[in-house]
């Protein structure tokens, strides 16, 4: 982890997190603060947007602007805020149900649009806040409250989906390794375009399968395994691994972001422009109607 431009306490929120003790989301909160601190982003210039879920409560626990939105809709909400004020650093935080379930379409479209957003998904493979139903990343045959006879659905592979959707920054962290995660999040924030950081963030209350020890036994770091983040096919292969679980940066490619291509943003963020536009243009529109 690079040295911090701003101390981590800069981002201490108004109240303490009410997550269950040892919930993986504590690690994500810490990593996000570190990432912001390492880049020296002032809390007033940062906007954290979420949906609904235990993980989506995060914006309430960090000192920054925040919107705690609707379930599954953080991405379009963040999109609007970003395009209205491109000077803000916009981070989206949420859960697997929120982002990969109800919100899947929004996320994938945002990826192909290459909006300048960093999306951190606390993937605990369960619906935590609603007390333990199967999520889109719950494994086949796994028993949950909603699948008492075993889950009949194949889990979704978020990294493979992101790669297929043309996401330009695809990474995976683990709540047991805050330093690595902080680096990945900071990388995403620096990346020009959409960045996905999927995080193994154990739910200690409702997921007794995908626990800290479960991950500790299986994770390995891509950067230590000689992986080349420019190699899409290799990234896809790594995303497909299920015995050992790679963490780190899977893929990165630089392309123009949506904001780069949007003509109306050429003169700066809309929120900073005068409310009244071009009166002459208006009058010529009227003239064309006569």
């Amino acid at each position: 982890m690079a040295t911090l431009e701003l101390p981590i306490e800069t981002y201490d929120g108004p109240v303490d997190p009410d997550w269950c003790p040892a919930c993986g989301d504590f690690g994500v909160l810490k990593a996000l603060k570190q990432a912001a601190g390492s880049l020296g982003i002032r809390p007033d210039d940062m906007l954290v947007v979420s949906g609904i879920g235990c993980s989506s409560n995060l914006p309430g626990f960090i000192h920054a602007y925040g919107v705690h939105g609707l379930h599954g809709r953080a991405v379009p909400l963040a999109t609007g805020a970003h395009l209205a004020n491109t000077d803000l650093t916009v981070v989206i935080t949420g859960g697997d149900g929120d982002g990969y379930g109800i919100g899947l379409g929004h996320m994938l479209h945002a990826m192909r649009r290459n909006l300048n957003l960093t999306y951190v998904v606390m993937n605990n493979q369960v619906y935590g806040l609603t007390t333990g139903q199967a999520s889109p990343t719950t494994g086949l045959e796994v028993v949950t409250k909603s699948t008492p006879r075993g889950n009949p659905e194949l889990p979704l592979n978020p990294l493979a989906m992101a790669l297929a959707a043309g996401c330009g920054y695809v990474a995976r962290g683990f709540s047991g390794d805050v330093a690595q995660m902080a680096g990945l999040i900071a990388g995403g924030m620096r990346h020009r375009g959409f960045a996905l950081v999927d995080v193994f963030s154990p739910c200690v209350t409702y997921n007794h399968l995908n626990t800290y020890p479960y991950f500790r036994e299986r994770v390995y770091k891509l950067e230590e395994a000689g992986h080349d983040p420019a190699d899409l096919a290799a990234a896809m292969r790594a995303a497909g691994e299920s015995e050992r679980l790679p963490t780190g940066l899977f893929y990165q490619v630089e392309r123009p972001s949506y904001a780069d291509r949007e003509p109306a943003l050429a003169d700066g963020p809309p929120v900073k422009r005068p409310i009244k536009g071009n009166g002459d243009a208006f009058r010529s529109l009227i003239a064309a109607m006569c």
């Binding site: 108004p14 109240v15 009410d18 809390p43 007033d44 210039d45 906007l47 947007v49 609904i52 409560n57 914006p59 309430g60 000192h63 920054a64 602007y65 925040g66 919107v67 705690h68 939105g69 609707l70 809709r73 991405v75 379009p76 909400l77 963040a78 999109t79 609007g80 805020a81 970003h82 395009l83 209205a84 004020n85 000077d87 803000l88 379409g105 929004h106 479209h109 949007e262 003509p263 109306a264 943003l265 003169d267 809309p270 929120v271 422009r273 409310i275 009244k276 536009g277 071009n278 009166g279 243009a281 208006f282 009058r283 529109l285 009227i286 109607m289 006569c290």
Partner: protein, 669 residues
Amino acid sequence: MGALSIGIGGAAGDGLARCGDILARTGTRLGLHAYAYNSYQSVIRGGHIWLTLRMGEDKVRSHGDHLNLLIALNQDTLERHAPQVEAGGWIVYAADRLTCPERLPGKDVNLLGMPVKELLKPLGKVPPVMQNSVLVGAAAHLLGLDPAVLEGVTGDIYAGKPVEVIAHNVDATRAGHAHARQHTAALNTGWAFSRTARPFLTGNQAMALGALAAGCKFYAAYPMTPVSNILHYLAAHGPDFGMVVKQCEDEIAVIHTAIGAGYAGVRAMCATSGGGFALMSEAVGFAGMIEAPVVIVEGQRAGPSTGVPTKTEQGDLNQVFGASQGDYPRAILAPVDTADAFGSVAEAFNLAERFQMPVIVMSDLALAEHYETVEHTDLDWDMPIDRGERVDDVAEADGYLRYRLTPSGVSPRALPGTPRAAHIAASDEHDEAGILLSDVFASPPMRRKMHEKRMRKLEAVAAQLPPPERYGASRPEVLLIGWGSTGGVIREAVDLLSERGVVAGQMQVKYLLPFPTGAMLEAIDTARRTVVVENNLTGQFARYLRAETGHRAHGLVLRYDGEPFTPGYIAERAQAVLTGRSQPLALSEGEARECAYHYIRSRLGDMAWPATLRRVGEHVYGEPAWEARLEGRDDGHDMGLLVIGADTGAVLALHHPIPRTQEAAHGHA
């Protein structure tokens, strides 16, 4: 002479809209008022399209009940509309393509069959749609429109097309005009032609312009009839005003994107129709909860569900009023005509920002898509802008409370980026600082107070809204009450009733929420009878009115077949209410004919037509019925008898004719 109505009929792809456009623009450039309504279908090619253009020297507020000039682009149009042309009127068509059987036109109706091919011959090989320009030229002559202006408009309308296309069209109108002039005199319209042009535009365009004038910097949309044109218009012109125009993957994304932009501090708008609004509804309450400004245009069309997507209706009032769970502050405006569509959008932004809430502007297909002339002053670039109370800097860290419990309910807003004002805006209930009440810090009384604070904002909104506008007699025998887009047509109905000796008045409701209860009750008190006029089946507004005032209207004038009102339709039914007659539900002869057409076209193809209709009693079919005699379109041979229930509309029987060969055999036996 007053206004004249020109009907143009054909199939999708026949280039009909352009015909209407050229005629209308020519008239409006010459100083006329105009109103155009296009009745079309959800099909890219084919079907039956029917455009009505009404023009005159005074303000025209509806497409009217008359037909003075028919331009028929195909045989179907002749068959269906020739009988509707009024005495003294004209039928213009390509005589070398279509035939207008004698039995069709009424008395004193003139035919102008144009030798289109011959007139086009000098142009060389041109596509068949070129007939349109010939017919338009002829119509322009009949209407007494200056051919020079006609040529100029034609050039403008085809601007951007290859030069030879423009030239051919100009030549074709000229040829049509000249030929008509040679063969007949122009109508005696008595129009003086001031030659001062007014803007001629749709409700959609008025709204788009209203957004631009209000400084809207963000427009999100997903295509949907009847509001897609707002997207097209703003995508083309918005960036010149610094406006980001974003097409999203669906309406849920649309509204969240708009709310995100509104939250971040720009004026943001989106538009959709009923189905898209249903998808947005969860988010409308969200905007109310986090107190983010956003303007949403709901362009109604005939429902339920996908319904008749290219037809009009005012059927979404229940939906818009009921949108989203729980109680939250918002305003609902329904502009009463095209000019008001401009102003309402601009006003919506002021309300949205001042009171930090969603504001919904209800339009409908008729308002969104019909063209109308408005005054230049109706489209005011310099309208007042009220951005509401803002906090631009906070001295002390932690000193800012985003949701301060103020007496007015309005809590000054700090945009993200404001120094020392970082806070969270949550869809969960929260306290003054934004801290969630749903989690460990639950507090029923704090919840109560925050809920009351939000709702308190509506008191101030109610206090500042002007009362509904009133038209007509001050102590009317019948007060027509309408809402939204029907402002113009109801006003014409009031005039018509007055002409017929009925003392009538009008209250047109624009502000649905907060509702002008007091003003409505006062108005109702002045009238002997009230009639609510609306474009839907259940009388949604009449129920709404009763909910807000306790008043039950004495009668309803409803229409829900997809077509907009005409003044005559309203006047006739309002008179029925006054005389205690009930509204007719059985199929009229004209409707039965259309039902027969539908059956024939969908089941039997286009060889037959319903030549005559006869009403029969219920003894045979269990309900009164219409018997339509089907005849061959070519030679009028008997093609059978179609029986349609007058009450249910059901096809009760199709009696095939005795086959011709057999008949012949009989004859010879």
